[in-house]
């Protein structure tokens, strides 16, 4: 187990390296630069600025320098916010996105999975149709509609929570609900679909026959077998949540990583693009590892090949 985790962590290094190199060339191949403005910079000034950031050197030298700095833990200076390093910019935003993302993930799991379990226990009755209809609304309604609707009802009409901003617990409520409920919907559908199959298996019938309470059969016996695809889905979904959502962060004016990433692409701020991509990659790889470990614990058959 310990060795397996170490092996997976070691595997991350080449994967991250490939991601860095590919993103580096992508970011440099895209036309337009961080210093392009409506009024062009005088040629001498531009040359000096580019020399300061090392942009006058050949690409492979720049890449070498970047990876060298990365090995020392430095993501380099931002080209759009002079005087700030990328570590500082991203570092200030990570806690915001992680707090918001974890809360949304918790909401998604606590709402989505029980709804799926309940719906699967009474297939094709109102206890199935009603929650699945609601889940479907959650899947179809995009966050750029759901977010403003939440703000309209709970903030402008009822005045319970602030419509946007960041800084107190009440600011967390609406954005985490928007993100969490939208993620809960696919979880509910996946859980229902899997459990419908598991409920037909012999061991579930045995558990019922020996008098285990129906709730315990559903949530303990059956869920453990039916949750594998849900956990697999949760790996990338959790990575997307903790590394920030552009739409929700923009709507509720939350200073998170998702907005930083899209702004950096629009600004062609290459070091920030690389930094945020790297952050997402690390989050994705780590959370997929967590998902794989969880799957191995839940279902030992998936752990390692016997054949």
């Amino acid at each position: 187990m310990f060795i397996y985790v170490l092996k997976r962590l070691a595997e991350m290094i080449p994967v991250l390296l490939v991601v860095v190199v590919a993103t580096f060339f992508l970011a440099h191949a895209v036309p337009g630069g961080p210093f392009d403005k409506e009024r062009p910079m005088p040629a001498e000034v531009k040359k000096q600025v580019e020399a300061y950031y090392g942009l006058d050197q050949p690409l492979h030298v720049q890449l070498g320098n970047y990876i060298g700095n990365l090995a020392h833990g430095s993501l380099g200076p931002s080209m759009k916010y002079p005087g700030w390093t990328v570590n500082q910019i991203i570092g200030a935003r990570i806690p915001v996105s992680v707090i918001l993302g974890s809360l949304s993930l918790l909401i998604a799991i606590l709402v989505g999975i029980p709804i799926g379990v309940i719906a699967a226990s009474r297939p094709n009755t109102w206890m199935d149709r009603l929650p699945m209809g609601l889940a479907l609304i959650g899947i179809c309604v995009p966050s750029f509609v759901f977010g403003p609707l939440l703000a309209l009802v709970f903030s402008l009409q009822l005045g319970w929570f602030p419509p946007c901003g960041w800084g107190s617990v009440s600011h967390l409520v609406l954005p985490s609900l928007a993100l969490g409920l939208i993620t809960a919907a696919p979880l509910a559908r996946l859980t229902r679909g899997e459990l419908m199959e598991v409920y037909t298996l012999d061991y579930v019938r045995t558990a019922r026959a020996k008098g285990v309470s129906p709730t315990r059969v559903r949530f303990v016996h059956a869920l453990r077998n039916g949750i594998l695809p849900v956990v697999t889905y949760l790996g990338p979904a959790a990575a997307a949540l903790v590394s920030g959502s552009f739409v929700v962060e923009s709507l509720f004016d939350v200073p998170g990583v998702g907005r930083l990433f899209v702004t950096a692409i629009i600004n062609r701020d290459v070091p920030v693009i690389l930094g945020t991509t790297l952050l997402y990659a690390v989050a994705l790889l780590c959370l997929n590892l967590v998902a794989d470990l969880a799957k191995a614990a839940l279902d030992p058959r998936t752990a390692r090949d016997r054949r």
Partner: protein, 292 residues
């Protein structure tokens, strides 16, 4: 566990006959066929003067609520909403079809093959999925737009590029858990070939998960299309899509609610039918749930 192979329905009944027995999925199928036919015949309807041109503006008219002249009302530039809805449907349905096809063929085959070969190959294959899902899609789309020009095909490329990833991951996990089941061991012991095991044992047991996840992919990619178009990289005005119409409608939801409401209802209705269809197909072709 070995019940997976016991067939509980009448031996002469095909999956298709079982599918037709349940009414909801059949209605859903006809609804989808109807919507798609209507959307794809909209250029013909316009040519026959049965439908206004989707790009004909009437600035003096402006936005009007649904009325006799414009059944579904008009948008901010006075363009007929019904015509735009049908034109947008062509784009959105195509995006959904491409995504489903790629997810079903590339995603499922990739996942099953990776898990069946196993070992280092599987590790490598899953790391490739990790890398592809990490690369910033926006940058790739911008780059392709620069190289190939702003083109509707960019949308299909972007959608095809991402729709198989999570499907491959889910299929791989599920196959790995099937791999050690007794009925697969029995098939191996009986000398069943690897292809045979994949086709006769893995795919039927995966069908439920695949059907549910495929219906989850479609709304995701239709909204992804809206995001890419929102960045100015996909569908070019005056053309539109359902995702873009919902996006534009959400900006004016207090002044012209029908611009948000009507596209959302059509979008949701299509996806609702799609998921009922997915569930119906799953129930009909999965031998274990077939009896119900």
């Amino acid at each position: 566990m070995s019940t997976a192979l016991t067939n509980t329905s009448a031996p002469t009944e095909t999956g298709w006959q079982r599918f037709q027995r349940d009414r909801t999925p059949v209605i859903a199928l006809w609804f989808l066929v109807g919507v798609a036919a209507l959307c794809f015949s909209s250029p013909l309807l316009t040519a026959l003067h049965l439908l206004p041109d989707y790009k004909a503006q009437d600035l003096a008219l402006g936005p009007v609520a649904p009325c006799a002249a414009h059944w579904l009302g008009t948008d901010l530039l006075g363009r007929d909403l019904l015509a735009r809805l049908l034109q947008g449907g062509m784009i959105s349905i195509s995006v959904g079809l491409i995504a489903t096809t790629v997810a079903l063929f590339v995603g499922v085959i990739y996942g099953v093959v990776a898990a069946e070969i196993g070992g280092r190959f599987e590790d490598l294959a899953m790391r490739v999925v990790d890398i592809v899902s990490t690369l910033p899609l926006t940058l790739i789309v911008i780059l392709c737009t620069v190289v190939f020009g702003q083109n509707i095909w960019m949308i299909f490329l972007a959608v095809g590029g991402v729709s198989w990833l999570t499907m491959a991951r889910i299929v791989c996990t599920k196959t790995r858990s099937l791999k050690n089941r007794q009925f697969v061991e029995a098939a191996v012991a009986l000398g069943q070939s690897r292809t045979g095991i994949v086709l006769r044992h893995y795919l039927p047991n995966l069908s439920g998960t695949i059907a549910v996840y495929a219906t989850l992919t479609v709304p995701g990619v239709m909204l992804l299309e809206a995001f890419v178009s929102f960045l100015g990289l996909g569908v070019k005005s005056p053309m539109t899509s359902w995702g873009m119409m919902i996006k534009e409608g959400s900006d004016v939801m207090e002044q012209c609610p029908w611009l948000l409401f009507i596209p959302s209802v059509v979008f949701a209705g299509t996806l609702l039918s799609l998921s009922y269809l997915g569930d119906g197909l799953r129930d009909a072709f999965d031998p274990r749930t077939a009896k119900k």
